[in-house]
Symmetry: C2
Subunit: 253 residues, 2 copies
């Protein structure tokens, strides 16, 4: 027939919409600007609100938009690079690290953590809570598990819990020789507690960084840190500068 190739695999509407909106964001909006509300946008593009929302979700996932209930949808600033692994390995809590200890308890950790630490499943470990902010915004929440054997000289008299205790545990950690550290990054979703600290809704995507600190050939500490996936770019080996990743040219539709 005379018709030219007709879009063999039709793009879903929400995907097309994502592309259109993405281009509009590049050319017609500036950071911080408020978009029209969802009902308005849906009407303007002639789609159901649910479909529009699917497109917005994608863009939020990619860090292009920020949505806040009761407020509106705004254009997000570029992701901030947060340094996660540096060349020289340091204990958590070393001078100059970016974390703020907020609490410390002594309790049996989740089974998976106990296994990774090589402690018994009912053995109590110090659990330090810390959080991290950048440009005044919360970017990460951490649980740091430190077996009692890693901080043998920790005074039992000092504050039994709370921030002071957390600092004491971190202080004691510095006295040991750090052999090496290993990290892993994976995608997760924020649980209620993390979500609260990160100022997001539960279920929002986070990058989970698990770090094993090795000393004396044993796992001396284990950190599980969750970073907001929408606003963060995790840098290893200090790559603060690299700033790629806006879509390469996509086919028209």
């Amino acid at each position: 027939m005379g018709t030219t190739q007709v879009e063999a695999v039709p793009e879903p509407k929400y995907w097309h919409l994502r592309t259109v909106l993405s281009e509009a964001l590049d050319s017609e909006f500036s950071v911080g600007e408020i978009l029209p509300n969802e009902r308005e946008l849906a009407a303007r593009f002639g789609v159901a609100r649910a479909t529009l929302r699917q497109a917005l979700e994608q863009l939020e996932l990619e860090g292009r938009l920020q949505r806040r209930r009761g407020v509106g949808t705004t254009v997000a600033p570029p992701r901030v690079g947060v340094s996660v692994g540096t060349e020289q390995h340091l204990w958590p809590g070393a001078p100059g690290d970016a974390w703020q200890p907020s609490d410390c308890t002594l309790a049996a950790p989740p089974a998976a953590v106990a296994d990774a630490l090589g402690t018994g499943r009912d053995e109590a470990v110090h659990t330090v809570r810390r959080s991290r902010r950048t440009h005044g915004r919360p970017v990460a929440a951490e649980l740091l598990y430190v077996p009692a054997s890693s901080v043998p000289d920790l005074s039992a008299i000092e504050a039994p819990s709370g921030p002071a205790r957390a600092r004491a545990v971190l202080r004691e950690l510095q006295r040991r020789q750090l052999q090496r550290q290993e990290s892993a990054v994976e995608l997760g979703s924020a649980h209620a507690e993390d979500a609260k600290v990160l100022d997001r809704l539960p279920g929002s995507p986070v990058l989970v960084v698990t770090t094993r600190y090795v000393a004396g050939d044993r796992t001396a500490a284990l950190s599980v840190a969750t970073y907001r996936a929408d606003t963060c770019r995790l840098t290893f080996g200090d790559a603060g500068g690299v700033q790629i990743h806006h879509d390469p040219p996509s086919r028209a539709c």
Copy 2:
């Protein structure tokens, strides 16, 4: 009044459902097993299919489930750890690296890449496509940008494009001294091409790893690799062993 605390902040249904399903996966299903279909599950839990799907989406994001159109929903195996950054820095294509070159072209890169490379926006660079598989499954697709100046001795006569050309570019790269490399990890969504290679739908979540290879104080190559976020755990400093991250105990509801 006499009523006990009534769930001050009611959990969304889909979130509750996620928790229930997650626990069921732990206790009643084994890897690879097929779940009942969505209509069935929705009916069983007394919710609309869309709500159930929201819960499944979460679990898929967390790497617990795998859904395939026309087939069904299966219990996913644990994420595979893929080594991304090692202690000793090596050029891409060094002996033993996990990537399979598939193509190479010479063209002007996206503007953002040109800027990061410090080349002119219209200057052509070698663009090597590579892919990476683990246990027979595709896990990542990469675009590697190599400015002509980084491979000065590259013979113009050899295959002008295709896998042979890609290997030639990588081979030439090895001759230079690698100073250091810097990586960044962020969340993205798969474009059509990547989605195809990764055997996923467009828009599915990916971990984008941007690596800058520095030689002679200049960016000698730039790699943009997209990993399937559902099946991969990226390891730095070789942390193959760490395997945490199943939800900590969550509050009942």
